[in-house]
Amino acid sequence: MRRLQELGRIIVGILREIADENAYARHLTAHGVTHSAAEWRRFSEHRMRAKYARAKCC
């Protein structure tokens, strides 16, 4: 059961990492701010600028 829980935690972790939700949570913690629409926009603009300056794989 514990192993299944661990597997589930990893799968959710992967999905949240791909969805940038983990990165957003880290951003909130690092800057000591709470979630808001403006904060998400600030974060996602910075994140996307970096993300889409790199080639996507074929």
């Binding site: 990893i10 972790g13 992967i14 999905l15 949240r16 990492e17 791909i18 969805a19 940038d20 939700e21 983990n22 990165a23 957003y24 880290r26 951003h27 913690t29 690092a30 800057h31 979630h35 808001s36 629409a37 998400w40 926009r41 996602s44 603009e45 910075h46 994140r47 996307m48 600028r49 970096a50 993300k51 889409y52 300056a53 790199r54 080639a55 996507k56 794989c57 074929c58």
Partner: protein, 688 residues
């Protein structure tokens, strides 16, 4: 006791690998079940991972878990963050898996299942995984620097500049060829065209939802987007069956090509959050889901391989693309065996997330082995089709004949029987007007996948849904790559032009942004139109060009890593990266030579240009075709020049690398390694 069981286990895995490989390679009398390929691949990956990857980690790179990684030293909660290794693995795999490992093996099935299978398995274990792993290691030891930066610092400014130019050119060919795959999949298909068009408002809705209604809820909106996309597939079916609506979504190849070019320009000018980012999230999740579904489907159905181990086309006379099995199988399958593009990902986000150096083994080596397995799945899906059907779908009309009757007669004459009635029934089952001459690999892959998925559900009448689901899935991430690639190409071009005229380098100067975006779109758009107009289907000339370029990039990445190994005084292990480099150089240079200079007009660009020129001079070309023929002559000459430029650029980098290697190995010159200094890790186990 533990050691004994360890030896016994690996002994069993090795025997199983040998047995499965023997069946795949030697059985000729009766059809082979795809499970043998799966067993062979999994066992070889396991052996490669357990022994070769561990050897490289311990001896060649001397990974050291006491050493703080950039994720720890430069931790900024944005790009640099120590992350769980399996989460980084999933993230890295999602980033490297694109359409390449699906389309390449499908096209290479023209040679039969054997060459592609062997190259996918051994190319990955000895080449692709090694490239990804070592590039990741090199970047990790250099604070997450990109391949271009490492080339500049380790080889020199010429290497760095040439690497940037090479990537830009490769990107242009890549964008053209994948756009052509979408065009060929959607032409004359109201169902497919409606579904793909519907993904655009869906993505925009997702963008608005994320920005204004539920900011930050990416997983939630992706789920909503996925449900909407599924509904759009059913909507597409209704549209295709409506005599009023269907003509609105029935487009010719040229209309689609022009539409995609306009879309590419417009999409690259839109804010990223509105279209690109939400569709990227959606396509990544769909991609992972489909890969898992395909893996499970193949294991459950275990389809029989209908294509032979080797077809008659190993001699170079294949209808899908010209050229013998060597070297063309090895450049047709790039992603899945070895892909230069992966080195850009391995020196991008991933090294900034790794918390322990040894995590690079599963992330660098393991993720590539998994991508190779995706290629194996695609190959099985394609080879599960009847050979006649496979060639009828993938062969251009210019090769097999313009009418269905002529095409099936030609294909049946090759010994792969197929009838017009059979093709019509299949087309009607998947809700298409025709499946003949749908070159590019995507439709035949979709057909193979639909065949497997519909059998898993046990309901054959859903084959049309699965076919269009597979087409939607391929087109969705190809359009994302087009959009993102145009932006990246623009940044690269601005980077290059900024040194000539400074404002052009500024990403905030609108004339520069519009001008460079337009230049990139027109560049790949030109090759796309060329592919659409090509009577031989376009794939015959563009896919090999892309394969050569991608493999040459891999040669560049491996030569950068070899330089680093030599500088680290690990020259006795330089064969680990030097041997795959030598193989890639042999394959790509041979393929380039054939593509440029072969006297066979079906294979050589210049020979085809000369043949057309002679026909023009002899007056055998009808007046209506003269302008098109002139354009075809020019395009062939241009393709030859592009191919030549790739080779020259990579030769420059290789010669520059050899110069450095010789200086260090024989000239007694001291090597300066560009590694960041050793810092002892302070990470606690619970932080990893």
């Amino acid at each position: 006791m533990k050691t004994f069981f360890g030896y016994a286990l690996w002994g069993v895995v090795s025997v199983l690998a040998a047995l499965a490989l023997s069946v795949v390679a030697l059985q000729r009398d009766e059809p082979v079940n795809s499970l043998w390929i799966v067993v062979a691949a999994v066992c070889v990956y396991a052996i490669g991972y357990r022994f070769y990857a561990k050897f490289i980690a311990a001896k060649v790179m001397a990974l050291d878990d006491r050493r703080a990684t950039p994720a720890e030293r430069l931790r900024n909660s944005h790009d640099f963050e120590p992350t769980n290794k399996w989460i980084v693995f999933g993230h890295h795999f999602a980033a490297i898996a694109g359409p390449g490992p699906l389309v390449g093996p499908t096209l290479a099935a023209q040679f039969g299942y054997l060459p592609g299978t062997m190259w996918l398995i051994f190319g990955a274990v000895l080449g692709g995984c090694v490239q990804d792993f070592t590039a990741l290691f090199a970047s990790m030891r250099r604070d997450g620097k990109s391949l271009g930066q490492m080339a500049r610092e380790e080889i020199g400014p010429i290497g760095g500049f040439t690497a940037l130019l090479t990537v830009l050119l490769i990107m242009i060919i890549l964008l053209a060829v994948i756009a052509l795959v979408v065009v060929n999949a959607l032409r004359g298909s109201p169902w497919g065209a409606f579904t793909i068009l519907a993904t655009m408002p869906i993505a925009i809705f997702m963008g608005l939802y994320l920005r204004y209604w539920r900011p930050g809820q990416v997983l939630e909106v992706s789920l909503i987007g996925f449900v909407l996309v599924l509904l759009s597939i059913f909507g597409g079916q209704a549209v295709s069956q409506s005599p009023t609506l269907a003509p609105w979504f029935d487009y010719s190849a040229m209309t689609l090509a022009v539409g995609i070019i306009i879309y590419g320009f417009a999409a690259s000018a839109l804010p990223v959050w509105l279209l690109l980012a939400p569709r990227d999230y959606l396509s990544t999740f769909v991609k992972l889901g489909v890969v898992i579904l395909l893996g499970v489907g193949v294991l459950l159905i275990r389809p029989q391989l209908e294509l032979p181990a080797l077809t008659r086309f190993v001699d170079g006379t294949g209808p899908i693309f010209a050229g013998k099995v060597f070297p063309f199988c090895f450049i047709t399958i790039a992603c899945g065996a070895i892909s230069g593009f992966h080195s850009l990902i391995a020196s991008g986000t991933t090294p900034k997330l790794i918390s322990r150096e040894t995590h690079a083994v599963p992330i660098g080596y393991g993720a590539m082995a998994l991508e190779s397995y995706v290629g194996i799945m695609a190959l099985i899906a394609a080879c599960a089709l009847q050979p006649g059907v496979f060639f009828a779908v993938n062969s251009p009309a210019g090769v097999v004949g313009a009418t269905p009757e002529a095409a099936v007669a030609t294909i049946s004459g090759w010994g792969y029987p197929v009838t017009v009635a059979e093709m019509n029934t299949l087309a009607s089952q998947v809700g298409e007007e025709t499946l003949m001459a749908r070159t590019g690999g995507a439709p035949s892959l979709a057909l193979g996948m639909a065949h497997i998925f519909s059998q898993v559900g046990g309901v054959d009448r859903f084959i049309g849904f699965w076919y269009h689901f597979a087409i939607m899935f391929e087109a969705l991430f190809i359009l994302t790559i087009l959009d993102a690639g145009t932006r990246v190409g623009r940044f690269m071009l601005q980077d290059l032009l900024g040194s000539i005229y400074k404002p052009l380098g500024r990403t905030s100067w609108m004339p520069g942004v519009i001008g460079t975006s337009l230049a990139i779109v027109l560049a790949w758009g030109y090759f796309l139109i060329q592919g659409v107009r090509d009577p031989l289907g376009g794939i015959n000339s563009l896919w090999p060009l892309f394969g050569i370029a991608n493999q040459l990039l891999a040669a560049v990445a491996l030569s950068v890593v070899t330089t680093i190994l030599i500088k680290m005084h690990r020259w006795k292990y330089m064969w680990v990266t030097a041997v795959p480099t030598a193989w890639l150089v042999t394959v790509t240079y041979t393929a380039s030579y054939y593509k440029i200079f072969s006297p066979d007009p079906y294979l050589g660009f210049l020979a085809q240009a000369n043949q057309l020129q002679r026909a023009l001079e002899a007056g055998t070309i009808p007046a209506a075709r003269i302008a098109a023929t002139r354009a075809q002559i020019f395009n062939n000459q241009l393709d030859a020049v592009v191919c030549g430029v790739f080779v020259v650029l990579v030769t420059l980098i290789l010669v520059d690398s050899l110069r450095i290697w010789t200086k260090i190995l024989f000239g007694g010159v001291g090597a300066r390694v560009g590694e960041s200094p050793f810092v002892m890790t302070q990470l606690r186990p619970e932080e990893i």
